[in-house]
Subunit: 107 residues, 3 copies
């Protein structure tokens, strides 16, 4: 038995949660205050058999991998003309810790 | 030293917290958002000596074990007659992970 | 790789967070409801290389070690005279668990 502790940005946490649940994993979400990702994040606790750790990591990565995105950006010039151009920003990214479980009980 | 991480339904978390504290265990409760139990739950962190893990699990189980309860249920029939009869529902249930502690410090 | 789980009183959690971040550690803070410290506390998750565990513990201890402080205290006497005298109170104190990380992924 392993415990997967994953820190997922809030933009992706809904999709991560849905994807894990759909595949039959029990997911507990902890409210996170602040954190090392700028926008706030959610900490997931997922208990799983050893041989499904790869699948859990793959699901989390699939829904939250660090990626770039083009977003509109606006610059105002002196003469009152607006110029909107796309800027590439990096979003997403998760940090995943896998811990050994010494004992597991469901009561 | 072990760290017990227990996910307890909110119906039972007050009793679990009180029972652990009464027996002298240090309890930290994490706010949990959503989760695999329907009604919301609380994640407990309890640090304990190896030989007291059984006691911690027994206390948590004693206050939160999955159990059935009869609740009133109402059915309305066509002819305007109400029938209230008890329905058996399952409540409670906790998930408990025990982790090895590599090092423990109180400062 | 180690995961440091530290429960820090809310009086000190801002300083602990700032000091860890300044030294380059990735810090995740979990909202804690109640707990074994009277005033509420914050649970920190810090992932770190094995050889930096001492540094992490030292930073946390340096900002949150249990200590005494003199605070003003006021007694009102029968004859309407106030006497303000300092009282020594204990503040701070953190509980730190270090866990082995079986696998670590940043995606
Ligand atoms: Ni196992
Ligand atoms: Ni031990
Ligand atoms: Ni290591």
């Amino acid at each position: 038995m392993k415990l997967v502790l994953a820190i997922v940005g809030n933009d992706d946490s809904g999709m991560v949660s849905a994807a894990l649940t759909k595949e039959g994993f029990s997911v507990t979400k902890l409210a996170t205050t602040g954190g090392f990702l700028k926008k706030g994040n959610t900490t997931f606790i997922v208990g799983t058999e050893d041989d499904k750790v790869d699948q859990v990591i793959s699901i989390i990565a699939g829904q939250s991998r660090r990626r770039t995105q083009l977003v509109p950006s606006t610059t105002t010039m002196d003469i009152g003309v607006y110029s909107a151009f796309p800027v590439e920003v990096t979003i997403g990214g998760s940090t995943i810790f896998v811990l050994n479980v010494d004992r597991f009980e469901k009561v």
